[in-house]
């Protein structure tokens, strides 16, 4: 907050200079952060500004001001001000509570401790006291308090590891290295450190930093992103580091990125705003009608109304009359609607936060509704865009199965179910228990099975051929790998007794069944996604030269020698693995002769010195030696799905939600996951679009569109798979339309290799094209775009990355919680919010249109029929509770039914409960009610002789009759709308009626003791003893509501909807867990409604992009094109060396 001005001027060109050890010269922003909206002083002006920028509130402010004009207001001067104040206070309290939480969170962060070097000693200070130019010491596991330049660290070559998942969502550790000039600096040198750092101004780019370090007496050196440690990152595997703070507080890159969420408004809210506008027009129309009425009345009666005084009546102009009537009818616009909705949605959000079913015990994370604006939008989702890694999967890979020499291992059928059950309990348990566990493999190995040698070779290969680095931590060995697949393989075979123990720059030592073997690593033929394989050339302990290779089935199979065995069996096994959704790798080796190798080595050296296209020439060179493979078998790795993902996806599909998987990952991986989570099935035809030119893309898209023919635009049992490169062309203006049509005709769409921007673009295109509600779910920084773009953004929380969560509208810990969030909370909230809104409109129209009816008998003079404060308090007291309970507790049917019968979601999805038609229906209903409510009592009292003792009555007597009947009718109408009555509904409905009667009783006795409401004096004692009052008390609400009741019951009887039947069954069920079988059938048959593939089989796809062949499931992930190549990384690693222990 304290540095707004510098934020604005934060263009990259602005250079800042930081002087070392001269704190006085460094004058920058404080390190304390504030995410709160208000401070104590700014609260009132900002809050009022915010509130009155809402049209409805501004309207009521305007009315309040109008009321201050003398004589213009028939309802007194303060009758709108008071409810408005009450409403502003209530929502103000809500704002304060929310902002207080933010203040607390900020304080927690700001008061964390850190160690800085000041006045020649290390001092412990709070984060907020850290200044630019400070030298900070951080130790392992700590979060860094500000952006700083690394000076030195405990590790060799002054490197350190940081976890950046908070910033970019990437889970691998990043290496940072200090400059050579400062690498050796420790406490002693720090005080003598002098010089300055010049760097660019604060900006939001994580991966750039331009700076120069000027140390006195030394030549300036450039500082780049490799030396920068950012706020929000965590120090890992490094005992300590020293760093000079360069950016603090809101100028850090982390804070620069945490921009305010774009304000999302739900469809319901937008529709409501339009409806409020319609009501406003209605108000104007009513005022005009009344004005015309007044003129006509004066024409007819205005001859000589001597009792009003000569100048009394006709002196006022038309404009004045209009103001009078606007004030008279202004309550037509529900003053309490906004605040009621705010409260309702706030509590709905609390329900989401409290839900134990969405509580992930693994890391004790509850679901969180980060905004309460979009609760009802959850009930209308039509398109779901999901990220893959971390969202559908839990980012844990284990070796599940393998096939060696044509024999399949690890095929224990019962395995995965038990694991999935345990999954939610403890995520760490998976890695331990869920691994490869098939005793027959070891038995075959030990008992001299004919394939023993193959088994040995297979396991040895897996142990040697990889880029994993072992970290010894006491007795345990942990593996650091940039490829999760390799880590899974190494861990998997470790259990079988083949342990990878040591890596030196030139060798690998393994422990095979208790014996140590050391393999000399001669070359590493790196993985790339083009090559789809990686190999190592080793000298075995026996001195032979051998090339081990693992890779995709396609690339391995085309390099197999003719002598290779088990080719067919392995292929069948691969298909089987793929069907299960496992990631497969083929394993092969070849023996090399010395001569062959020497020859190749020459070639290799040449290739590695090429300056242009070195990578390509290296790959060509690798290709020359990777041939004549002998197949050993294949591995199958399970990329663990999160618990209940397939079930959730099935339920969501049944709920008529289209699921698109958008991933940055490779096509193969995405397809595997789609199979394993049942989004794709083996018999489902897949349209694959992979082309690298606009023409090809256009041609493929058009061909497919043509093939589909009339089925285009409908939902087909088809899958579309497209990669980011092709998508670029598919979104070309010429192709876009037909591509989107094609994509929307498919049941499942997989988009792979997407950039974050493309993800957002897809969401945007679908959002605009179909006009349906979209939901995006993801866990990483690369999903932020689509999360912000979609109508509803959901972040997976609890993993380390916070970026997605921070930008989301809802945060849940597991993908499967989406089922409850959408099907239960979404559907409920939609019902609740829409009913609440419609009801608020209804009750306001009912009461205030009565003023119009009364105008017809009072010569359009603007007289009110009720007491003025009763009018004002109607919305905030007497009928404030029913809409709240309706909005908070209403349940269309039970949670179980909603989950069991996802088809029910379509009701809210289609928005049938809340649209213009329903709104008008409700308005007309309210008009009819108000007419009955005025006309019946009017006719009753017209005769004037209704009281014992013959007393005659006044206009307010009629007003109190009507008012009471209105309150009763309106409350009972809420009861009719309520499908599920709990104790709060009873309290609200009966309570409201009682509150009014009690208020009425007290209010009639205030005058003259308290100078209010003289006209109410004594009303209660005549109204309540009047027999007509009680006779009307019964008949008037009945006449109003019997129409509704009749209408609803006839509709329910004649036109049984699924919802009605489900409700009927719920009612019939007594203490029974299982729904009747008929119910299950109804669910199934509804499901069968989906157009099935039978139709589709008739379609002949002519384009070769449509793939009906069985998948093989190759997938492998590895960091590519990093700063340091895999080879360099492992060559620099030596596990035998003890870490240089530097200490301060």
């Amino acid at each position: 907050m304290g540095c707004q001005h510098s934020l604005q001027g934060s263009d990259a060109s602005k250079v800042r200079t930081i002087y070392l050890n001269e704190p006085i010269r460094n004058n920058f922003c404080k390190n304390s952060i504030s995410t709160a909206k208000y401070s104590i002083w700014s609260f009132l002006p900002r809050y009022l500004c915010l509130q009155f920028s809402k049209a409805a509130n501004a309207f009521f402010l305007f009315i309040t001001i109008l009321q201050q004009i003398p004589d213009v207001s028939p309802t007194g001067k303060y009758t709108t001000l008071l409810p408005l104040m009450i409403i502003l206070t209530v929502s103000g309290i809500k704002e304060i509570v929310e902002d207080y939480k933010r203040h607390m969170a900020d304080r927690l962060v700001n008061t964390k401790n850190t160690i800085v070097f000041r006045e020649n000693e290390w001092k412990v200070i709070m984060w907020k006291e850290v200044k630019v130019g400070d030298i900070v010491k951080a130790s392992n596991g700590q979060f860094l308090p500000a952006d700083m330049v690394l000076i030195s660290s405990s590790e060799p070559e002054a490197t350190c590891y940081v976890a950046t998942s908070n910033l970019d969502g990437e889970t691998n550790l990043k290496i940072r290295q200090a400059l050579l000039e400062t690498a050796e600096m420790q406490t002693e040198q720090l005080s003598s450190l002098s010089g300055k750092i010049e760097c660019e101004g604060p900006n939001r780019h994580f991966n750039t930093f331009i700076g120069t370090l000027y140390l006195n007496g030394k030549s300036p050196v450039a500082v780049g992103p490799d030396q920068v440690l950012l706020r929000g990152t965590q120090l890992k595997n490094t005992r300590w580091i020293l760093g000079i703070v360069v950016y603090t507080g809101s100028e850090t890159k982390f804070m620069q990125n945490s921009i305010q969420l774009p304000l999302k408004r739900s469809t319901v809210e937008k529709v409501t705003n339009v409806q409020i506008l319609v009501l406003f027009l209605l108000l104007l129309a009513m005022s005009l009608v009344s004005c015309v009425g007044a003129i006509l009345w004066k024409e007819g009666h205005g001859g000589d109304i001597w009792y009003i005084g000569t100048k009394g009546y006709s002196s006022h102009s038309l404009g004045f009359d209009i103001l009078v009537f606007i004030i008279l009818y202004h309550n037509l616009i529900p003053i309490s609607l906004l605040v009621t909705l705010e409260i309702v949605k706030y509590i709905q959000a609390l329900f989401i936060n409290w839900d134990e079913d969405m509580h992930y015990e693994g890391n004790n994370v509850y679901a969180m509704a980060r905004t309460s604006n979009l609760n009802e939008e959850l009930g209308q989702v039509k398109y779901l865009f999901s990220d893959k890694t971390g969202t559908l999967t839990c980012n844990i890979m284990t070796l599940k199965k393998c096939t060696i020499a044509g024999i399949i291992y690890g095929n224990l059928s019962s395995r995965s179910d038990t694991i999935l059950d345990n999954l939610s309990a403890s995520p760490s348990a998976i890695t331990e228990s869920g691994g490869f566990n098939d005793p027959t493999l070891l038995q075959n190995f030990e008992n001299g099975h004919p394939t023993r040698d193959y088994i040995k070779e297979f396991l040895t290969l897996l142990c040697v051929c990889h880029t994993v680095v072992p970290e010894r931590d006491g007795g345990n060995t942990t593996y650091q790998a940039s490829s999760p697949d390799e880590a899974a393989l190494v861990k998997g075979i470790k259990k079988l007794g083949f342990v990878f123990t040591t890596r030196t720059p030139s060798s690998v030592t393994i422990n095979a069944m208790g014996e140590n073997f050391t393999f000399e690593i001669l070359n590493i033929l790196e993985f790339s996604s083009n090559r789809k394989r990686m190999s190592v050339i080793v000298r075995t302990p026996t001195g032979k030269l051998r090339l081990y290779c693992k890779g995709a089935d396609t690339v391995i199979y085309e390099r197999l020698s003719d002598d290779s065995l088990f080719v067919k069996e392995t292929l069948t096994h691969l298909e089987y693995f793929a069907k299960e959704g496992l990631r497969t790798l083929c394993i092969a080796y070849t023996d090399l002769t010395e001569k062959q190798y020497q020859q190749w080595l020459m070639e290799y050296k040449k290739a590695s010195t090429v300056i242009q296209d070195r990578r390509q020439s290296l790959e060509e060179c690798y290709d020359h030696i990777e041939k004549e493979f002998l197949l050993l078998g294949a591995t199958a790795i399970e990329d663990h799905l999160q618990a209940r993902v397939p079930e959730t996806i099935t339920a969501l599909l049944n709920a008529n939600i289209k699921i698109w998987v958008l991933t940055g990952d490779k096509q193969e991986t995405a397809i595997n996951i789609a199979y394993s989570c049942k989004l794709l099935s083996a018999k489902m035809p897949c349209i694959r679009l992979n082309s690298n030119s606009l023409e090809a893309t256009q041609q493929a898209v058009n061909q497919n569109c043509q093939d589909l023919g009339i089925l285009l635009g409908e939902e087909n049992d088809l899958a579309l798979i497209i990669d980011g490169e092709t998508l670029k062309y598919a979104f070309h203006p010429e192709v876009k339309r037909s591509f989107v049509n094609l994509a929307l005709s498919c049941r499942a769409v997989l988009c792979c290799r997407l950039s974050p921007l493309q993800k957002a673009e897809i969401v945007d295109v679908v959002k605009k094209h179909v006009g349906a509600i979209t939901l995006a779910i993801g866990d990483g920084a690369n999903d932020v775009g689509m999360i912000q773009m979609a109508h509803v953004g959901v972040g997976i929380s609890g993993n380390e990355g916070m970026q997605a969560t921070n930008n989301s509208d809802f945060a849940i810990a597991q993908f499967s919680y989406l089922e409850k969030l959408l099907l239960v909370h979404g559907a409920w909230n939609y019902f609740r919010v829409t009913k609440c809104i419609l009801y608020c409109f209804y009750k306001n129209v009912v009461l205030y249109v009565i003023e119009l009816w009364f105008a017809f008998v009072n010569g359009f003079s603007g007289q009110i029929i009720f007491e003025r404060w009763c009018i004002g308090l109607y919305n905030v007291i007497f009928t404030s509770l029913p809409p709240l309970t309706l909005g908070i507790f209403e349940q269309c049917c039970s949670e179980k039914s909603l989950l069991r019968c996802p088809q029910l979601y379509r009701i809210s999805q289609a928005g049938k409960i809340f649209n213009t038609k329903v709104f008008w229906f409700q308005c007309i209903n309210a008009l009819v009610h108000s007419f009955i409510l005025f006309w019946l009592p009017m006719k009753m009292l017209e005769h004037d002789m209704v009281l014992q003792g013959g007393y005659t009555t006044d206009y307010l007597f009629l007003g109190n009759f009507i008012y009471t009947y209105v309150v009763v009718t309106v409350c009972l109408k809420a009861g009719l709308d309520t499908l599920s009555w709990n104790k709060f509904n009873h309290l609200a409905i009966w309570g409201s009626i009682i509150i009014w009667l009690v208020f009425f009783a007290i209010y009639s006795f205030l005058w003259p003791t308290i100078p209010v409401a003289p006209e109410m004096t004594g009303q209660v004692s005549v109204v309540l003893v009047c027999p007509y009052f009680w006779l009307g008390f019964f008949i008037v609400p009945i006449v109003c509501l019997i129409l509704n009741l009749l209408w609803t019951s006839i509709r329910n009887t004649c036109n049984g909807t699924l919802l009605e039947e489900v409700r009927k069954m719920e009612r019939g069920r007594v203490q029974e867990l299982h729904l009747p079988t008929a119910f299950e059938k109804s669910v199934k048959t509804e499901h069968l409604q989906l157009p099935l593939s039978s139709q589709l089989h008739k379609v002949v796809f002519q384009d070769e992009s449509v793939d009906r062949s069985a998948p093989r499931g190759y997938a492998f992930s590895q960091l590519e094109q990093g700063v340091i190549t895999q080879e360099e990384l492992i060559r620099s690693y030596d596990a035998t060396k003890i870490k240089t222990s530097k200490s301060l």
């Binding site: 409920w828 010569g859 005769h943 009945i1038 009749l1046 009605e1060």
Partner: protein, 355 residues
């Protein structure tokens, strides 16, 4: 009317109290609105309404009521009052009528005005409640255009309502025979709401009433000041005058009755008003033809439910009848559909089978 059914809550017993709320598992009744559910309710409501309706109609029928419009009968007086200049000229009018049946019990005398808008906004506004409660005689802020007299003294009681008070005098006389005319004894007290007489209207405190009202002027249309409204009865004088109080309760509709007198049941009239010849002797002061209105006098008895209006009874009867009609037709629909209608579920099944 509606059938409610308690749903079972499976997990609830295991959970602590507030969890049921937090997990949205509060026990709830499911409202089920379908033909079978509401039929019995409809029948019961219909029967009740019919019953009440018939009782109401019968009791309203038992009431004797007589109304005589006298604007036209006293046309000469009405004409005289057209012009405000003639305000001090007295005009009386006698209206004979014959009561064919005895009016049993309490009899009430009302005057009724047609086309007099006591519910006009500026009319209702034009009064001072704090003046009427006797606390502040000078408070005439809202009383425009009748707040102050020409010389600037505040008017008491101020405002249009008080100024336009109904000032006809109606005397009912009983003609026992052609020679003996006796005035029917009438009570002028007990015709206001209790709270009006004892709370809302208070005279300013002083030794005597006329001194209490010093420094105020009488309303322009009044012939005498407020403290001379009833010189015989101090409890009926000043702001406490019953006729004044009754007038000050402004009616809801342009046609309204106001209670004027009630029968003092003594002597001949101990049973009520006996049948026979009567006449109203009216001192005609209140001009109505200027706003195209009319005046009438009403004599009526009352029953437990009130006056002779049939409306509420008819409303009940019609509602009852319509409810029964609806119930029958709903039953018919239900029975018809019961045979034809298959459940949603079965419909799907047959569709699937056909496919």
């Amino acid at each position: 009317m509606t059938k409610m059914k308690k749903t079972s809550q499976i997990c609830q017993s295991k959970l602590p109290d507030n969890t049921a709320l937090k997990q949205q598992q509060l026990p709830a009744y499911r409202l089920q609105l379908s033909a079978t559910g509401v039929l019995s309710g409809f029948f019961a409501t219909g029967a009740f309404c019919l019953g009440v309706g018939i009782i109401l109609i019968l009791s309203a029928k038992s009431i004797k009521e007589i109304e005589i419009k006298y604007t036209k009968i006293c046309a000469n007086c009405a004409e005289l009052r057209e012009d405000a200049i003639n305000f001090d000229k007295e005009c009386t009018c006698s209206i004979p009528f014959y009561l064919s049946e005895t009016m049993q019990g309490n009899v009430y005398l009302y005057y009724k005005l047609y086309g007099f808008y006591q519910n006009l906004y500026r009319y209702i506004l034009s009064r001072s409640n704090s003046q009427l409660v006797g606390t502040d005689l000078k408070d005439v802020g809202n009383c425009a255009p009748f707040s102050k007299s020409h010389n600037g003294t505040p008017i008491a009681p101020c405002g249009a309502i008080a100024n336009s008070i109904f000032n006809d005098t109606i005397i009912l006389s009983y003609n026992l025979n052609s020679s003996i005319h006796m005035e029917v004894p009438m009570l002028r007290s007990g015709i206001t709401w209790w709270t009006d007489k004892y709370v809302k209207f208070r005279n300013p405190s002083a030794i005597n009433l006329s001194s209490a009202f010093t420094g105020t002027a009488k309303p322009p249309y009044w012939s005498k000041p407020v403290y001379e409204l009833d010189l015989e009865d101090t409890e009926n004088n000043g702001f406490l005058n019953d006729d004044f109080i009754v007038w000050m309760r402004t009616a809801a509709f342009p046609t309204f009755k106001k209670l004027y007198r009630r029968l003092n049941r003594v002597q001949y009239f101990i049973e009520g008003l006996p049948a026979g010849n009567y006449s109203f002797n009216i001192t005609y002061n209140f001009p109505v033809t200027r706003f195209k209105g009319e005046k009438s006098v009403v004599l009526s008895t009352l029953t437990w439910s009130g006056g002779s209006s049939l409306f509420l009874g008819l409303a009940y009867t019609v509602t009852g009848a319509v409810t029964w009609l609806a119930a029958f037709s709903m039953m018919a629909i239900h029975l018809m559909l019961k045979e034809k209608r298959t459940l949603f579920i079965e419909r799907f099944e047959t569709e699937r089978d056909r496919a």
